[in-house]
């Protein structure tokens, strides 16, 4: 029987999950990664203290096995846009049903396990009528399949009876030379506040074993330096890539991004380590490396 604290990370095979897994493992935590079969687990499997458990979040039997002996759960596994918008039945099965099944499995194994859930600011819906940065008290008005699934899943977590921490994560900016979305998920002049991937990893990492974070919901966004209008973000990024601003395509209806009140989150989780300027410097470096 395992006596060392074990963290289960669903979706641990994805880019965010893998980075978090390696960080936790590097800090001496035992980690069990639960994600779909067929992913590239080579690096994780080679790392001491990491166990890979291939499975499907919609398979209750494998969830029950995966939940054995866990002390903390970080639930990242989810269907994301644009796939979510194609099929509500599938989205509900994975994002809502999968969360419910995981909660059941964990409760049966350890009713004191700390359940950390990656929710999304998407659940707020269209907030363009707001005048202040959103607090976590803002009601949900989901306006698409993804936002609806996150709102429903979060409710399950909060009502589960397990000690929980909910992180409502904003759009994740990856400091690399990557192809952007064909259409940016916001209007040209919409308020938006993304967050660097490393800071999201930090927020999740600092949630583990954090008594101050138990029973609480947090907005996870970049902070004041990341608060801007959509076109300002895109134009800053495009300038580094040498792409003309007129190449950008924006939504013609509001997306679900806005500005967020994160001072409470930062106080509890100490995750805002990357300013928007820091992020641009990292992207610039990635472009320069490509140019040789």
């Amino acid at each position: 029987m395992n006596t060392e604290p074990l963290v289960l990370i669903t979706g641990g095979g994805g880019s965010l999950g893998a980075e978090l897994t390696l960080l936790l493992s590097g800090m001496g935590r035992k980690v069990r990664v639960f994600d779909l079969p067929g992913l590239d687990y080579d690096l994780l499997e080679e790392t001491a203290g990491i166990e890979v458990f291939p499975g499907d979040i919609t398979d209750r039997a494998s969830l029950s096995e995966a939940a054995a002996d866990v002390d903390s759960v970080i639930h990242l596994a989810a269907l994301l846009p644009p796939a979510t918008e194609e099929d509500w039945t599938r989205t509900e099965a994975v994002n809502v049903g999968g969360t419910g099944s995981l909660l059941d499995a964990v409760r049966q194994r350890n009713s004191e396990a700390h359940f950390i859930f990656s929710s999304s600011v998407a659940a707020y819906g269209d907030t363009t009528d707001e005048n202040e940065p959103l607090t976590v008290e803002r009601e949900f008005r989901p306006n698409d399949f993804y936002s609806r699934s996150k709102a429903l899943a979060e409710k399950l977590v909060v009502e589960s009876g397990l000690p929980y921490t909910v992180l409502r994560i904003s759009g994740i900016a990856i400091p690399a030379f990557l192809e952007p979305p064909a259409v940016w998920p916001f209007m040209r002049d919409q308020r938006m506040e993304f967050v660097c991937r490393g800071d999201v990893v930090a927020a999740l990492f600092h949630s583990v074993g954090n008594g101050e974070a138990r029973g609480r919901v947090f907005n996870v966004a970049g902070g004041p330096t990341w608060q801007m209008l959509g076109h300002q973000y895109v134009e800053a990024l495009f300038e580094l890539m040498g792409v003309l601003p007129e190449e950008a395509r924006y939504m013609d209806q509001p997306g679900w991004f806005d500005w967020y009140q994160t001072s409470d989150s930062q106080a509890a989780l100490d995750f805002q380590q990357t300013s928007f300027q820091d992020f641009l410097i990292m992207v610039k470096k990635a472009v320069e490396e490509l140019l040789g």
Binding site: L80, P81, S120, A122, Y146, I169, G171, I172, A173, I174, A176, F177, L178, E179, P180, P181, P185, F194, M241, G242, V243, L244, E247, V287, L290, L291, G292
Partner: protein
């Protein structure tokens, strides 16, 4: 139009001239290189809609292709190269185009 896309047009046009000249040639076993170039012409057309081609990173990759295609076409026009030398220049073109095709497959980002 971005510099990358301008260069891409030059590469495609240059490859077409090369293909035309190779088809007129008698003797010399360059059929494999001809086939490769014909395939690549189609793949290069497909790059026109790629985001990568609008970025500054496309400039060095396409410039190399432009230069290598130009060297081949000058050799074909001058008819001075022996078959081995011509084959090497053609391989330089296809190598450069393969690099461009690979780089243009930029990994995408998921925001949420």
């Amino acid at each position: 139009m971005s510099k990358g896309l301008v260069n891409l047009d030059l590469i495609i046009e240059g490859c077409r001239r090369t293909i035309e000249e190779l088809k007129k040639m008698e003797g010399g076993d360059l059929s494999e290189e001809l086939q490769t170039l014909e395939r690549m012409e189609g793949e290069l057309e497909g790059l026109k809609d790629k985001f990568f081609m609008k970025t500054v990173a496309a400039v060095p990759a396409t410039k190399t292709c432009v230069d290598e295609v130009e060297k081949v076409n000058q050799a074909l026009a001058g008819n001075k190269d022996n078959p081995a030398a011509l084959k090497q220049k053609l391989n330089n073109v296809t190598d450069a185009v393969e690099v461009l095709l690979s780089k243009a497959q930029m990994r995408g980002t998921t925001l949420t």
